[in-house]
Amino acid sequence: MLSFNPPIKEEKNYNDLKIVEIEPTIKINLRSNKREFSTKIGKILSILPPNEANTSSGNESYSLLWLSPDEWLIYSNNVNNTLDNQIELENNLFKEISKLNQGAVTNVSDHWVMINLKGSKIFDLLSKSCPFNFKDFKKKKGSVVQTVLNHVDVIMHNKDQNELNLFVRRSFSEDLWLWINDSARFL
């Protein structure tokens, strides 16, 4: 297991809402505008980076989120990854992409904290302090959005019906965690 020190050390259950931090997960940021980039990622991860805005692709091991036309975020769906797995993946990507000037590979595992929200009331909770319109987002599995929640930058990935992963920067995670819990009490 990876030796992370998670900032959130508890799991909360409210009325039809479950909130928990999922750690440890590998998160790697990819940037490239080269043509060969997609093929290289496909070879390494067996997933092609999504070109359509606000979407994601993935398999059992990894999810690949669209962040902008030349930026993607990989994260592992499996918490049992070892430190060796992480180093191996990062090295493979670095060797095939960064070293050959095909783009940039950055390990952001410690940068983002991933919070999993489950339950029928997650969008009621998020709508309390988010300017984004979730109407289409919640219908489409695999949707991705970067927006603000309670004035904090977040990335949201719609995993399934009534389940999403929320990424927040580590330094803001405790503040957002407290806000989520405070708001969840009134649902």
Binding site: A53, L67, E71, P131, Q146, T147
Partner: protein, 91 residues
């Protein structure tokens, strides 16, 4: 508050964006030949008109991409949104 149609992400609330000021200001080709007044004119002076204005905007809390917008500053009505490097669709 108004809705902006980001050319990369789609419709989002204005609070996710930041305005980068007037667009299509060309950098002088020979800056060393300019007087201080001419340089200050290029660097600081902006029209800031009431009416239709060409502006640069950044989707700061989204895709972090810059783009151009044609906006009426008196009523925030957006006439066009187009990517950097593209020609304005309206005059």
């Amino acid at each position: 508050m108004f809705i902006i149609n980001c050319p990369y992400c789609g419709e989002r609330d204005q609070t996710e964006f930041s305005c980068g000021g007037e667009a299509h200001i060309e950098r002088p080709k020979q800056p060393t030949e300019l007087s201080d007044d001419q340089w200050a004119e290029y660097l600081f002076m902006r029209k800031n008109i009431k009416g239709v204005q060409f502006e640069r905007w950044n989707h700061a809390h989204g895709c972090r991409k810059w783009f151009n917008m044609v906006r009426d500053t008196s009523n925030d009505k957006i006439q066009a949104v187009y990517k950097m490097g593209e020609k304005p669709p309206v005059k």
